[in-house]
Symmetry: C2
Subunit: 182 residues, 2 copies
Amino acid sequence: MQDLAQKTLTRENVFDGQILHVRRDEAQMPDGQIVEREVVEHPGGVGIALEDEDGKFFLVRQWRYAQEQETLEYPAGKKEKGEDPLMTAKREIVEETGYEGTNWKYLGSMMPTPAYDTEVIELYYAKKGAFRGQHLDSDEELDVNTCSLEELTRDVLSGKIRDAKTMYLTLLLGELKRRGEL
Amino acid sequence: MQDLAQKTLTRENVFDGQILHVRRDEAQMPDGQIVEREVVEHPGGVGIALEDEDGKFFLVRQWRYAQEQETLEYPAGKKEKGEDPLMTAKREIVEETGYEGTNWKYLGSMMPTPAYDTEVIELYYAKKGAFRGQHLDSDEELDVNTCSLEELTRDVLSGKIRDAKTMYLTLLLGELKRRGEL
């Protein structure tokens, strides 16, 4: 197979924000050509499908500023620097829904925009555990609902749900249930 | 339902690159609180599931610089400014695979990272049409393969395929085939 690797020659930090860091690199293609690459550095995060005793899943409705609209998404959050993603998931699920998760299962990882962004989202499934109480970040506001997998699948296929991790996780849950793996 | 909208108060361009533009805004939460929001502006793009006469799908193997690894993805590309996404899809499928698409079907749209990025990916299905010849951008190198939906599904579930649009589209194709809608 052809070697496709591109080597980094130089890195320049062009923006250091609170959450995002942006680099402009020079890289060398396998054919020797030198190209410019813009990279968004992101700490990565988690997405969690939390199932309750009725087989319904927790969804959060929130304002997504960059998209200028409300979205319906599985609970999710950013990793703290160096944090184990399962710890992030266990923390975020309580923060956003108020419930602990139990019977955690790892469902794989996703690169939302591999062309220019380092973000990786680790996906988890858990069953609803003890109630601890929601405690959101100071700049977070969200509504929590529960939906059956049938409703969620319908909302994905109709285009009502458009968040990538939520679209994939919903079809994945269906696939795993059909296979008897969940 | 609670109004979750956040109002933009100020916008500041903090990076203007070749592909990416980054803004730092001040926004007002529904409770009046003023928060900072970092936004990556991206022109948006398309992802295309192109099926050949044997029921196999075209995949491209390419180096994804930000993730420092090769990925296996459906053919995809960025929209030109103001371009109709179906035109983008028709252009990109020839550029990347060499084949035209026919029988185009719209499969919905996806927000890969709605928290901080304006990117929207429009998803399409097409059947393989006439051969026109691949013509890549000067800074693009990729290998083209075809895979059955069974192989693709296995590679998604095993974690070999980690690109968000490719993960979702693969399970979506399976779902639509089971429903007799494709």
